[in-house]
Structure formats: C-alpha cells, structure tokens
C-alpha cells in the first residue's frame, strides 16, 4: 500500500528539530518590529498556519477526487483526515489571528483582515462537513458525499476570498493599517523555516491520525472475520 516511508519516529524527530529551529529563528534571529514589538512574532506562525490549513484542505480535496474516480475507499479515510487536519489548523489560524489582533490593535476580532474572515467562513463550512459525516452511516454513501462536499470547499476558497474583498466596499470596516510586506532576508528565512516546520507537523499529525484510523478499521475487519458464522 504505502511506498518508501520515513518511519514515524524519524519524522517526529525531524518535526521537533524543525520546530526548534523555527522558534530560534523567530525569537532570536529575526529582528524585532519597530512598532509592534514582540507581538509581531505571531505573524511567523499565523500566516504559515493559514497556509498549512490551505494545503490540508487542498490535500483533502485531491484525495476526494481520487475517491470519486477510483472508488477506492482507502481515499475516504485519507480525505477525511486531511480535512480534519485542515480544520485544526484553521481553528489555530483564527486563534493566532485573534491574538495578533489583540496585540496589534487592542481588539479580539476585526473584520478588516480578509484572511481572517475567509477562515471564519471556511471554519463554518468544514464544521458542516463533520456534521454531515457524523449524520451518515459508514459506507460508500458517506464516503461519496464527504468527497463531494470537500470539493465544494476547495472551490469556495477563492470565490469566498473574492467575495470578502468585494464586500469591503460596502461594509466599510474600520481599517487597521498593517505595515508593508517588505521582509528582510532574515525575516523571510525565519518565515520559511516556520512554514516548513508547520507543514512537517501537519504531515506528521496526518500520518499518525491516518495510522490510528486504519488500525481501527483493520481491527474491525478482523473481528468481523473471526466472528463465528
């Protein structure tokens, strides 16, 4: 089933290493922002977390597409796990975004950050994904409906983003200025290391969760097979 695979323990060690490197770079190497100070450091986590969430949702949609085209139920678990990871990282995006807003502008929520609002919409969408899944009996129907909904989610991302930008014209939120995106080389390096660490973390969590779910499924099959006819 799986090809060459880095064993989980090695991957975990790798993630720990990357996270350590990221933390060092963010807190010790990257220069402190003149205006926002230490709170600006959240940016090194908030944005990569958001990007990782997108990557997870994208993976979920890709696996969903594979499920629909091959009918191999293996992809159902993979798609579900990816969406689950995406939702976790999405929730973290909202959390870190809120913390950053509080640290920067003194409010726990602002409608002026398009990305934050987008994640709110996506969070609602993917919560509905889980509600749908939990309300269906396990089987091919649940797999297919989940897959279709996951595909709709990924289509919703760009369309929603566009909508939110357009909405700003008539909603007129209080706009908080944020300093430009010119990053120095060290800042960019810190950002990349952080992003790599988070992607690795997401991938590890994905693998572990998938492993757990597969073991559950195999156990069930075994039990089924051993039940006296």
């Amino acid at each position: 089933m799986s090809v060459k695979r880095v064993p989980v323990s090695a991957a975990a060690a790798g993630v720990v290493g990357l996270m350590a490197a990221a933390l060092v770079m963010v807190f010790f190497v990257a220069p402190e922002d003149a205006d926002q100070g230490i709170s600006q450091k959240i940016f090194y986590f908030h944005v990569p977390i958001a990007l990782t969430a997108y990557a997870c949702f994208g993976t979920g949609a890709w696996k969903a597409l594979r499920l629909l085209s091959t009918r191999d139920e293996r992809y159902d678990l993979e798609s579900y796990t990816a969406v689950h990871q995406g939702t976790i990282f999405g929730a973290l995006t909202l959390l870190t975004g809120s913390i950053w807003a509080k640290a920067s502008w003194g409010v726990w929520w602002t409608w002026s950050s398009n990305q934050l609002v987008l994640f709110l919409v996506l969070f609602l969408f993917y919560c509905a994904y889980f509600m749908l899944r939990f309300s269906l009996e396990p089987g091919p129907r649940r797999a297919r409906l989940s897959a279709v909904y996951a595909l709709f989610g990924v289509a919703l991302i760009p369309v929603s983003f566009l909508a939110i930008r357009l909405a700003n014209d008539f909603i007129h939120p209080t706009v908080f200025t944020r300093h430009g995106a010119q990053m120095t080389h060290t800042m960019f390096a810190a950002f990349c290391v952080s992003w790599a660490a988070l992607l690795a973390l997401a991938h590890l969590m994905y693998r572990i969760e998938l492993l757990g779910k597969r073991i559950d499924a195999n156990l069930r099959d075994l039990r089924e097979a051993l039940t006296p006819v």
Binding site: R71, E137, P138, G139, P140, R142, R220, E224, V229
Partner: protein
C-alpha cells in the same frame, strides 16, 4: 452468461448486509433467491440492478440501465401523480417507442385502466404494487429483477402476475426474491438460498 457473480459481498461500514455469494444466470434464465428476513435478498437484488456496488467480489451484469426492470420493496412511483402520469414520465425517460399504446396496454392487462387518472395516493396497496410492476415492464426489459413481487397482491393481481412471468420467463431473464417458493419454483432453473 448474463449475470456473473463471484464471492460478492456487501458491507455498510461494520455491518455485513450480504455474505459472500457466487452464482451465474444465463440469458433467458431464471434465478430464485430465497432466505429469511435479513439474509440479504434485497441487498443482493439492489447490487444486481446497480443501485449499490459490492464491497468485495466480482459482479458482472451484461445489460445496461435501459434494459433493466426493477420492482423493489417500494413502488418507486410518485404518490401525487396519476398512474398515467407516472408511466408517462418513466416512458419518456426510458424512451419507450409508441409510449401511449404501451402504457394503455399494460394498464389494461393489470386491471388499472379504469383508475388511470386517479392519483396513486388513492390506490390500495395491491393496486400500487400492480402499477410498480407495470412500471418495471414498460420498456420491455431484457433483465427483470423482482423483490417480493407478490407482496400485497390479491388473488386476481397474483394471477395476472403469474401469467406475465410465465410468458416472460421464456423470452427474458428473471431474478426473483420471494418467500412464495411455490409460485416461482416451476420457472426457476437456479436457486440461491441465502442463510
């Protein structure tokens, strides 16, 4: 062989609805499926007509949807439409040639001509079942799959169905699930007993 099944199994998550079965049905053959409630007769029939896909095993059915007729546990008709409107809709979807004539003929044969303009909600269960059978025969299918077709039929309805199946068994392929082994028994060449 029109239908070929090898170790076909159906599971819904942890629940096994149909234990592994293997069988073959030749063109113009007749397969009788028996078994107690819960043994998977309905599941098997749904697999054969394509409403569900097997979890394991190989199932080949040599006809496409336009040549397949199905009578299930539910009549598969619209309550608020009349018999005529129901059959007209299905007639269009199945591209039945000389639709009106064929509908008229079937309704008459099954004793529903006089009530053709009444809504199905006004029918008795027996009449609804007869309409369901009409619906399944409308497009003259090569393969007819019947799940307990005698349910709710009165003596007259059952007699008509007997005649129909008798005539059909010679020209068409039948797969019938029933408790009423006496009726189909003589027609059936193959039997499949699900535990």
């Amino acid at each position: 062989m029109l239908i070929r099944a090898r170790e076909v199994e159906k599971r819904y998550g942890p629940v096994r609805a149909l234990r592994a079965v293997s069988f073959e049905v030749a063109e113009r053959g007749c397969l009788l499926v028996t078994g107690p409630n819960g043994s998977g007769k309905t599941t098997l029939l749904r697999l054969v007509c394509g409403l569900a896909a097997p979890t394991r095993g190989m199932l080949e059915v040599g006809v496409d949807r336009s040549q397949l007729g199905f009578v299930g546990h539910e009549p598969l008709v619209y309550r608020d439409l009349t018999a005529l409107e129901n059959l007209d809709l299905y007639g269009r979807l199945y591209r039945v040639p000389e639709r009106r004539e064929r509908i008229g003929m079937l309704l008459e044969r099954f004793g529903l001509w006089d009530v053709r303009n009444q809504r199905v909600s006004a029918y008795s269960r027996g009449m609804t079942q007869r309409l369901a059978i009409c619906r399944s025969l409308l497009h003259d299918p090569r393969l007819l799959i019947l799940d307990e077709p005698y349910t709710a039929l009165d003596d007259e309805g059952a007699a008509v169905l007997d005649r129909e199946l008798d005539a059909l068994a010679r020209e068409r392929t039948l797969v019938v699930a029933t408790h009423d082994v006496g009726r189909i028994g003589p027609l059936a060449e193959t039997r499949l007993a699900l535990a």
